[in-house]
Amino acid sequence: MGVVVKKVELSWLDRTYVWPVMVGMGITIQHFLKQLFTPTAKRFTIQYPDMKKEMPEGYRGLHELKRFEDGAIKCVACFMCQEACPARCISIEAEEFSDLNITQGFEEKRPAKFSIDMLRCIYCGMCEEACPKDAIWLRKDYEVAAYDRLSMQFGKWDLMNTYTEVDGKESISQDPTPSVPRRTIAL
């Protein structure tokens, strides 16, 4: 047995057509007035350059490479993120350095170059998951655009400075310790 579709019976009032039209006009004018008296900030439309959307918790936007208080990069150039990246857009070159203050004289690794091709990145967050040092994470900036392809290649300093303005941090372009290993320290 098939489904019995119940036919809608129109009342005589609905059949006149004039009354339903007036009801419909009532609905539209309600929307009109409601929208008219809603202040701009509370309307559904976000007027983009003037207003920006507040991104939800867990949104994956532009990366940041974290740093210690003294400006040293947290990344230890372990290549985990590069391995994990499904888009193969991270490329790292490691270097050695030693820092007496933090590492107590041990020689350490850090990236000499760290670049992410933002045009290839799919913002999956796998690099953040893979990092053993919590050195890279994806934050809420979604306005990643540029006029040419080259400026979408983010280098080490670009990545370290992506959120300096938001966080009120200093923009840096130099490691606090030189990269030449100080082998004079007696072990």
Binding site: V18, M25, I27, I29, H31, F32, K34, Q35, F44, T45
Partner: protein, 353 residues
């Protein structure tokens, strides 16, 4: 007026005529341009959007985006003016004007304020003085001409979609003209004349003596037919976007398209003015017996703009009719209704005397 006339070295009559021409056509034209903005903002508000609000004078003065029509106009002027290869070039150029001119001309007889006497001479606030012998037959005749604009545009662009749109427009026009005319004839009959000033003065200043109360059926018919006449939704299948691309203006671009679009809004203004004159007492101010000239003009403007807004309002409320539904409504509902209206009032008049 005498001062202006002596400034222009003409007689007051001619100076008055020129002033009226500028006021009426300039006014209607700019109102039509403004209404494109009203339509866009209004529709946006109805649909809980915001609409064009960013156009600004000198990049600073925004005034709710009111300069949007200006920006659109400038943009249209700088667009490439394409004419299809196989189009009939002369008619293709002529069509926008054929659409625009009748839409504007219909306004000529409508009095937009009460007549006044100054310096021993009577001034009428309508382009054609009352008693010109054409009266309200003139806008009806001109309104019938308006379909030529659509039809010529459709035919000359040599495009199947356009021709379909043009055919639909002319068919709609034919079927709705009759119902509308019969509704108007009823008014002429009860008024005893077809001059707009007579129609207005017969209605008086009391709202319950206006034709809307006396002939509600006639109003509904006239109102519906006006939508078909102006080719607006819910009867806009001359350019049913979902079915025939853009109908009669598929091939149009640049300023020619803008003229076609503007002519629709001019038509809308004329139609609202007609509605205000025929059914809502024209420039009469409710409950004021002898309004001042300014007050009467304001009253007329308010009525006209209200109806212009209703056109917008209805457009964003109702979906488009199907073509056969339109024909059925026109011939099987509007025509009999207006006939009933006519016969009923004829019978009442015969009983009255």
């Amino acid at each position: 007026m005498d001062k202006l006339a002596s400034l222009l070295h003409t007689s007051p009559a001619i100076a008055w005529m020129v002033a009226k021409l500028i006021i009426v056509f300039g006014g209607v034209f700019s109102l039509a341009a403004l209404w494109t903005w009203v339509e866009r903002r209004g529709s946006a508000m109805i649909q809980d959007r915001i609409g064009p609000n960013r156009a600004a004078l000198f990049g600073k003065i925004k005034i709710l985006g009111l300069v949007q029509p200006l920006a659109d106009g400038i943009k249209f002027f700088f667009k490439e003016d394409l004419v299809p290869h196989d189009a009939n070039k002369a008619l293709f150029w002529l069509a926008p004007f054929l659409a625009l001119v009748p839409a504007l001309m219909g306004f000529a007889v409508i009095p937009f304020g009460r007549s006044f006497v100054s310096g021993g001479q009577e001034y009428h606030l309508a382009l054609l003085d009352p008693g010109n012998g054409m009266g309200l037959l003139y806008p009806l005749a001109i309104g019938g001409m308006a379909v030529y604009g659509v039809l010529v545009a459709a035919w000359s662009s040599n495009n199947k979609w356009s021709i379909l749109g043009g055919m639909r427009a002319s068919a709609a026009m034919v079927s709705y003209e009759i119902g509308m005319s019969l509704a108007v004839v009823t008014i002429f009959m009860t008024t005893g004349g077809y001059d707009p000033s007579e129609v207005i003065s017969a209605q008086g200043h009391l709202p319950w003596a206006w034709n809307i109360v006396r002939q509600p059926l006639g109003f509904i018919v006239f109102f519906t037919c006006m939508f078909a006449e102006t080719n607006r939704l819910p009867f806009d299948f001359a350019e049913g976007e979902s079915e025939i691309v853009a109908g009669f203006n598929t091939e149009y671009g640049s300023m020619k398209f803008s003229l076609l679009a503007l002519s629709e809004y001019c038509h809308l203004m004329t139609a609202s003015a007609l509605m205000a004159t025929l059914y809502f007492g024209g420039w009469q101010v409710p409950f004021v017996k002898d309004p001042t000239v300014m007050l009467s003009v304001a009253s007329f403007l308010v009525k006209m703009l209200f109806f212009a807004w209703v056109f917008v309002w209805i457009r964003w409320t109702l979906p488009r009719f199907r073509y056969d539904q339109l024909m059925r409504l026109g011939w099987k509902a509007m025509l009999p209704l207006s006939m009933v209206n006519l016969i009923f009032h004829a019978w009442r008049m015969s009983q009255g005397h």
